[in-house]
């Protein structure tokens, strides 16, 4: 990680000195992250791709304003989030509750699905295409505030602090939302696996 950030600051310095083409190299490790971040907000492939391009162009144009005290990845993620939110406002129009205003309530059931069959699910099950598809759909269907935290944390592997900083929320909120997101996904995927895994009775002799 240290090596990457050292290489990165070197690259950034050279770009700012005029070696502009090096920006291609700087951005390459983050292309995927940028796309997925925008996608987690706009939930539409075309919009996400346009937004990702816009994010990268914006980052290029404003590179001089990047301060070395933040990580480049966090800075870039913030630009991607803003771009995604801007697009969402445009497509949804005024009157929609903005993402920033959504807060997690105390209602709702965020307990996992108890199931004993899991241990019998072979590792190969994770290789199944349908399972990946189901996970994609389940993530897309998470409420916005949960999906965004989940995407930054578990998909892009930002840490708790970076996720909080990028989304402009507290680390406490990150933890709560992440926990709920994971539990909601667990619940969704357990039922999927249960119907496709070899039939075996659960602990309680019936579907749980």
């Amino acid at each position: 990680m240290e090596t990457r950030s050292a290489t990165e600051s070197g690259l950034i310095a050279r770009i700012l000195e005029g070696k502009k083409e090096l920006f291609h190299e700087l951005i390459r490790p983050y292309e995927r992250m940028v796309y997925l971040t925008v996608f987690s907000i706009v939930k539409n492939e075309t919009e996400a791709e346009d937004g990702a391009q816009e994010t990268v162009i914006n980052a290029y144009r404003h590179l001089a304003s990047f301060r070395g005290d933040a990580k480049f990845s966090t800075w870039l993620t913030t630009i991607a989030i803003n771009e995604g939110r801007k697009r969402l406002r445009k497509t949804k129009g005024a009157g929609e509750q903005s993402i920033e205003e959504q807060v997690e309530g105390h209602e709702g059931d965020y307990t996992p699905a108890p199931l004993t069959d899991w241990r019998e699910i072979p590792l190969e099950a994770l290789e199944r295409k349908e399972l990946r598809e189901t996970l994609r759909v389940a993530v897309a269907e998470l409420p916005d505030i949960y999906r965004q935290v989940f995407t930054l944390r578990d998909l892009e592997e930002l840490n708790i602090e970076e996720t909080a900083e990028a989304l402009g929320i507290t680390t406490g909120a990150v933890k709560v939302r992440l926990h709920r997101a994971r539990m909601m996904l667990q619940k969704r995927l357990v039922s999927f696996l249960k119907t496709t895994a070899p039939t075996r009775k659960g602990f309680f002799g019936r579907a749980l």
Binding site: H24, R32, V56, Y60, P112, T116, L126, V139, Q186
Partner: protein, 89 residues
């Protein structure tokens, strides 16, 4: 302290992230040793995270990278006619 299942579920996410304190970690592990249900929940949640991090799960549109760099190339060419990147306006 002896934990009940519900208590373990509340901390499962932090447990996975290794952000529970040593005492709680120990209590959770002791509980997991004899509780199949919680062990299964832990395994399943971990599996979901493994699956999430798998690049094949969340794929990018075909040609995304190529189009991105083409657009960037145009922008870089354009900016060469201008003062240094992000320089004074």
């Amino acid at each position: 302290m002896k934990l009940d299942c519900k208590h373990v579920w509340e901390h499962i996410s932090e447990y996975i992230d290794n952000s529970v304190d040593a005492k709680l970690r120990e209590d959770i592990e002791r509980h997991l040793e004899h509780c199949e249900i919680c062990s299964a929940i832990l395994d399943s949640t971990r599996n979901i995270l493994v699956l999430t991090a798998d690049d094949r799960t969340f794929e990018l549109p075909v040609g995304y990278s190529k189009r991105l760099h083409e657009r960037l190339k145009e922008e870089i060419e354009k900016s060469k006619q201008e003062p240094p990147v992000g320089g004074p306006k």
